[in-house]
């Protein structure tokens, strides 16, 4: 076995990476043929790794039906914010160049198993999926489109919270997006919230938790304050399952935990219960 070990050790890292995926959940090395990169779920432990918004749309929209809204809306810089590492505008531009995204959310319209829906999909790669002025604006515009046409509205959240580089403008997006949701509730237009790992702060405390149904992916961490902040405050260790989707289900805040591969049929099943009469 020594020889085999040696050989493995000698393998160039690049080649090894190409062949094996290391699961961020169980740390197992999964052969890439077994790891579906579109789904990004560990076949061993079921860990749901993050998806890009494009991956999410591919999993959700019927092929070729997604029409993006407001693709031109990019992160602004209302505070002309800069920190130790420089200006926020530069940072946002850099992130945009790296990710090909202009904001932390992609919105648009598509068919979902034949039903026209409006989607808003957050992308954690864009500054931690943070909620900022133009994020909120895109979400409100999308919910407004849903309202006008009575299309169901579905949001996939993945966010560390509000984007502090936009300060109070970012905070106000909580009120702004919730105002859009309130209008959907009043007009009896379905609003489904899908919470994915992680959903915290300004996003969990606004549109993400006021869905007609709050749906979560398995193991997703969801909460208001971060675990470390809470541990510092209460000077206690928190249980392992604290703030997991399963914990929230038990505490009454999540309707269903749905495995990623079942999510699309689940959403369509739910929407089939809605009658427009």
């Amino acid at each position: 076995m020594a020889w085999f070990r040696k050989t493995r050790r000698k393998k160039p890292a690049a080649e090894k990476e190409a062949l094996w995926v290391v699961c961020p959940g169980c740390k197992a090395h999964i052969h890439k043929d077994k790891w579906d990169p579109g789904l990004n779920v560990c076949p061993e432990c079921g860990f749901h790794d993050k998806l890009t918004c494009r991956q999410r749309i591919d999993l959700t929209a019927d092929a070729g039906t997604f029409e993006e809204f407001d693709a031109d809306i990019a992160a602004g810089d209302p505070l002309e914010f800069s920190d130790a590492r420089g200006g926020y505008a530069d940072k946002a531009a850099e992130t945009a160049a790296k990710t090909g995204l202009k904001e932390a959310v992609l919105t648009g319209r598509c068919k979902l198993e034949g039903i026209t829906v409006v989607l808003a999909v957050m992308d954690f790669r864009f500054l931690g999926g943070s909620l900022a002025g133009s994020t909120g604006e895109k979400i409100l515009l999308a919910s407004d489109h849903a309202l006008r046409h009575k299309f169901p509205f579905i949001v996939f959240s993945a966010s560390g919270g509000a984007r502090m580089h936009e300060g109070i403008v970012s905070l106000m997006q909580m009120a702004k997006t919730c105002a859009g949701i309130a209008r959907l509730h009043k007009a009896r237009v379905p609003y489904l919230s899908v919470l994915t790992n992680p959903t915290f702060g300004g996003v969990s405390a606004s549109y993400a938790t006021v869905g007609d149904l709050n749906i979560a992916e398995p193991g997703a961490l969801i909460g208001f304050a971060g675990r470390r902040v809470i541990e510092q405050t209460i000077k206690e260790k928190l249980p392992d399952d604290f703030q997991t989707a399963e914990y929230l289900l038990e505490h009454g805040f999540i309707d269903r935990i749905v495995h990623r591969r079942d999510l699309k049929p689940f959403l369509s099943q739910v929407l089939n219960y809605w009658s427009r009469s």
Binding site: F81, G167, I168, G201, G202, S204, A205, Y207, T209, F224
Partner: protein, 321 residues
Amino acid sequence: MELDFEAPLGDMDARIAELERLNRKPDADFNSEIAALKRERDVRLSEIYETLTPWQTVQLARHPERPVFADYVERLCDEFLELHGDRCFGDDRALIGGFARFGGERIMLIGFEKGKTMDDKLKANFGMAGPDGYRKALRLMRLAEKYGLPVVSLIDTPAAYPGRDAEARGQAEAIARNLTAMAVLETPFVAVVTGEGGSGGALGAAVGDAVLMLSNAVYSVIPPEGCAAILWRDASKAPQAAESLKLTAPSLRDLGVIDEIIPEPPGGAHRFPEAAMDAVRDAVQRHLKRLRRMNVRRLVDKRFEKYAAIGKYDNRKYAQH
């Protein structure tokens, strides 16, 4: 409590006090010296208060002698009838409210209580509300709607409580539900940031038709220390973070987040609490008068437009409700 930047004032006040003591002796006459010193002190006071840095303003907003909810009730309300309970789990002591008369107006008054004595502070959890507080506030807002009363909300909280039980009982959901409900609440709503406007914890009771702010209050998405720790990797850079966050009243007015700055006397609300509270009363009354004249449907539409406009990209129109 004396803040760093107020130290020169303290020295001058001490000298004035000393001269006044000497002046009480027979034959002593320091009247003109005292008067001169007082003028000098007032000039210095004005200088300091006209050139406050954001970080100094943060310290003022948190000043322990700044009036708290109970002081406002005491000074401004002819009547305050606290109503308890969220009809679900408990009665939060950090976020409270009830029927009030406020210069002749009948209102539903809600607000964050920080407490004055250590006992009070502990009971009020230092002004950090839990889900029970937000649910109680929502119940009172709905009662206000039923009784035809405007809501006045006094905002002074460091944050929603980051505790284990608060999370278990749905801190995020409670705030989110309030935001959604306040957006379409069918009664006028005036929010006043009187001290610390601490992020989602503050906003959870502050989606007003008019949002007013005392001149030394702050309103921020994150405390400067937290922001500095994350973005500067150094909590001591809080003054820089405070600067960057644009959390003072003038910046917030320029950003369209607040509608009016209520000026505190030079020296601040902790030095002149009564004048500051009276200014709050006058401003609130003025806005209530204006809002009460509006048709409720239009009021709610306007409120939507107000929040929709913050962080607005261009002139894209939203649906008429």
